[in-house]
């Protein structure tokens, strides 16, 4: 139920983009950037795209289909401390500035091979990226796609077997 409310909220802000485009041009980029109190739509997309590189579509959908960016935006807004918020924003800023330095573009404007290079570079040891990656993994695994398609879903196991030969997931 709450989830539905969230989708409506997201749709509303997309509506606001249209309004902005029809109305005062100078506000368009500002209006378009709003996702919630903490994140812009660009940042949500950026997390989704980074997520898709970390957890791509294979025989099951990837992070983008699981909308990890949207979920993380809600968690950051509602659950994170100011310090955690600042750190995550700094990480996204860092990623964009590394992209600009290396490829002359923000992450979202980079080509696919450039994005892959960026993630490889971050994997070498960027603390903020590590935290973002953990968030993406947890967002993916806790999503409907993660729980029902990536993992086997047993909402009502019906029994306990303390010695079975297959993983329960």
């Amino acid at each position: 139920m709450e989830r539905r409310a969230f989708i409506i909220k997201a749709t509303k802000s997309i509506g606001a983009i249209g309004m902005g485009a029809l109305g005062i041009y100078s506000c368009q980029s500002h209006e378009a950037s709003v996702f919630n109190g903490e994140f812009s739509l660009d940042e949500v997309n950026m997390i989704n795209e980074i997520g898709e590189i970390i957890i791509p579509i294979t025989d099951t959908p990837g992070a983008k289909a699981a909308r990890v960016g949207e979920f993380i935006a809600v968690v950051v807004q509602d659950c994170f401390s100011d310090k955690e918020k600042k750190e995550l924003n700094a990480t996204l800023g860092d990623i964009n500035s590394v992209c600009s330095g290396s490829f002359g573009n923000d992450f979202l404007k980079c080509k696919e091979n450039e994005r892959l290079k960026l993630v490889s570079k971050m994997e070498e040891g960027h603390e903020g990226y590590k935290a973002l990656k953990n968030l993406i993994v947890s967002a993916y695994l806790s999503s409907e796609i993660g729980m029902t398609q990536y993992f086997d879903y047993h909402p009502v196991p019906g029994k306990y077997d303390g010695c079975t030969t297959v993983t329960p997931w």
Partner: protein
């Protein structure tokens, strides 16, 4: 009919948690018209549960929000407080209390109380627990012995529904159990390996839990191993014991129960001529209107701290320091249980084996200290037990891309196992709660101050609880053993007890051997406040249940004999 007659019942029960639910059931089944008061809202069994809602439909998928932390700074730290269970915990801002010393007071104000979110481990106290105070002189002697309560454990357990194994241990008495929930292969192996390895006979047995391995009838099905009870989410299969699933429906079936939610009891009235309580005053939390109800007997089951608060707030000429408080003991001798010291390790073997289903219990290590001369400790009194279990998680993955994704499913190389200690907290007079002189909550009730700490004896056990856990795991063949201490503050075990203790002497205790107030014979108190000691073995609720059934039996007999 005047107002007073209109609101007169045979009995009133204050509180609907574990013990209040039992008082309601027993009184109603004995034919008494019973008013059951609950300060919180109603929670209807199954109908009001949301345990079947998939986790991904929760806006934060279980996470605690900043708003939760602001509204409930204490509750949000309780182990099973989460996005779904939080509706069963109070808003701390609306329900303030003062921590003179740090004390985590977990509270669930609703019909069913904390029975909706309890830990469900259920162990009888043994002869050692009932003799301990007399032996070492801490607290006052229990006015009962194990033999007095044993038939009442026998009476309540089949209705509670406890899965457990028969072990034949005098220091951990067997009960009327359903078949136990099985150990997994690593737990069984470790249990077998440690048998006979310790001169003090340490052993690992099945945890005893109020979850059903047998069908209990309507609204009380067998455990489906969903794991929702452990997370505080209640159970749509009704597969664990709660007031909502078991005792209150039984009371409803008699036609004798009137349940009134949103009713905070603030004061019990006393008639000094008759030397009896006559009734009580309630504030309706929705309208803030006051109501008076009258009855021949009152069962006070508001939980340890609130039960004492109601008594201390019931002042009269006869009892200027609180109703039934001629001993001056009400609010004192507050205990919890220290816990959270243990050890963990990894197990080599069974690499091709896993577990399926979420078992709502684990393994248990009965006490092995201070049982007899051979196990006597010089450095501390009484003892502790362990709860724990073995499991197999996922390994975690490195890198990114399709291999990373695939490897996220890889199981951990080895099983791991941990055991954690729960220990006795001695009764100290100076550990207490009292009412604040001026501060009141929004319903006009004086705010509770809690001044409670662990002392030397509790501290003296800490190292032994960690080291003995490591020894057990080592004997079981575990590797990479590490000890830990969660450094829990008092209250966080949610086993608060002792504020209206039982005892033989009216000068030093509040209740007699029947949980009847020494000073006010038609008030019975059978929640945690009645405890004269915390006991060494946790799972105290089944003791409250047994004492409640026993007290109701006595109270109704006394009522029929016209003694009260």
């Amino acid at each position: 009919m005047n107002e007073k007659e209109k609101y007169t019942f045979d009995a009133i029960v204050i509180g609907t948690g574990i013990s209040g639910g039992w008082a309601a059931k027993e009184l109603c089944e004995k034919g008494l018209k019973t008013l059951v008061l609950e300060r919180g809202r109603n929670v209807e069994h199954i109908k009001d549960y949301d345990d079947m809602m998939p986790n991904w439909e929760l806006p934060h998928r279980g996470r605690i929000t900043n708003e939760d932390r602001t509204k409930s700074p204490v509750q949000s730290g309780v182990y099973n407080y989460n996005e779904r269970s939080k509706k069963y915990f109070v808003n701390d801002l609306d329900n303030p209390y003062i921590q003179v010393k740090p004390f985590e007071w977990a509270r669930g104000y609703q019909v069913g109380g904390r029975s909706l979110i309890w830990g469900r481990q259920s162990y009888r106290r043994s002869y050692l627990d009932f003799e301990a105070n007399a032996k070492d002189g801490f607290g006052v002697d229990w006015p009962i012995r194990y033999k007095d309560i044993a038939p009442w454990y026998d009476y309540v357990e089949p209705f509670v529904g406890i899965a457990g194994s028969m072990e034949g241990l005098p220091h951990l008495p067997d009960g009327k159990f359903q078949p136990p929930m099985p150990m997994n292969c690593v737990e069984s192996e470790v249990a077998q390996r440690i048998r006979g390895k310790f001169s003090d006979d340490r052993m690992i047995i099945n945890g005893r839990t109020a979850n059903y391995t047998l069908n209990m009838g309507e609204g009380r099905g067998q455990c489906q191993y969903k794991g929702s009870c452990g997370a505080g989410h209640a159970c749509s299969f009704g597969a664990y014991f709660s007031s909502n699933s078991a005792t209150l429906p039984a009371a409803v079936r008699t036609g004798n129960m009137t349940l009134r939610p949103y009713s905070i009891v603030q004061e019990i009235y006393y008639d000094k001529e008759k030397k009896r309580a006559t009734g009580l005053r309630v504030v309706d939390t929705e309208t803030l209107k006051e109501y008076e109800f009258y009855a021949k007997i009152i069962f006070l089951n508001a939980s340890t701290l609130n039960t004492a608060a109601i008594l201390l707030n019931s002042k009269s000429d006869a009892f200027p320091n609180g109703l039934g408080n001629s001993s001056g003991q009400i609010g004192h001798n507050l205990m919890d249980m220290p816990y959270g010291m243990g050890a963990q390790g990894t197990f080599e073997g069974f690499e091709d084996k896993f577990t399926f289903g979420n078992r709502p219990t684990g393994i248990f290590v009965p006490r092995f200290r201070n049982i007899n001369k051979a196990t006597e400790r010089k450095d501390y009194l009484r003892g502790f037990t362990y709860q724990g279990g073995a499991g197999r998680g996922r390994k975690g993955s490195t890198g990114f891309g399709s291999d990373f994704k695939k490897n996220l499913k890889e199981p951990a190389e080895h099983w791991s196992m941990a055991i954690t200690a729960w220990a006795e907290h001695l009764p100290y007079y100076e550990n207490r709660m009292y009412l604040h002189d001026d501060r009141k909550d929004k319903y006009g009730m004086p705010v509770i101050c809690i001044d409670c700490e662990f002392k030397e004896n509790e501290a003296a056990m800490v190292d032994d609880m960690m080291n003995s856990a490591a020894e057990i795991l080592e004997a079981g063949g575990l590797k990479d053993i590490k000890t830990y201490n969660w450094n829990k503050i008092p209250g966080s075990c949610i086993h608060e007890t002792g504020t209206a203790r039982m005892g033989n002497n009216p000068g030093t205790s509040v209740l007699n051997r029947w949980n009847q107030m020494h000073d006010v014979p038609n008030i019975f108190i059978t929640d945690g406040s009645a405890m004269a000691s915390s006991g060494t073995t946790p799972g105290p609720s089944v003791t409250y249940m047994a004492l409640t059934a026993r007290a109701v039996d006595y109270a109704v007999k006394e009522l029929n004999r016209r003694n009260i």
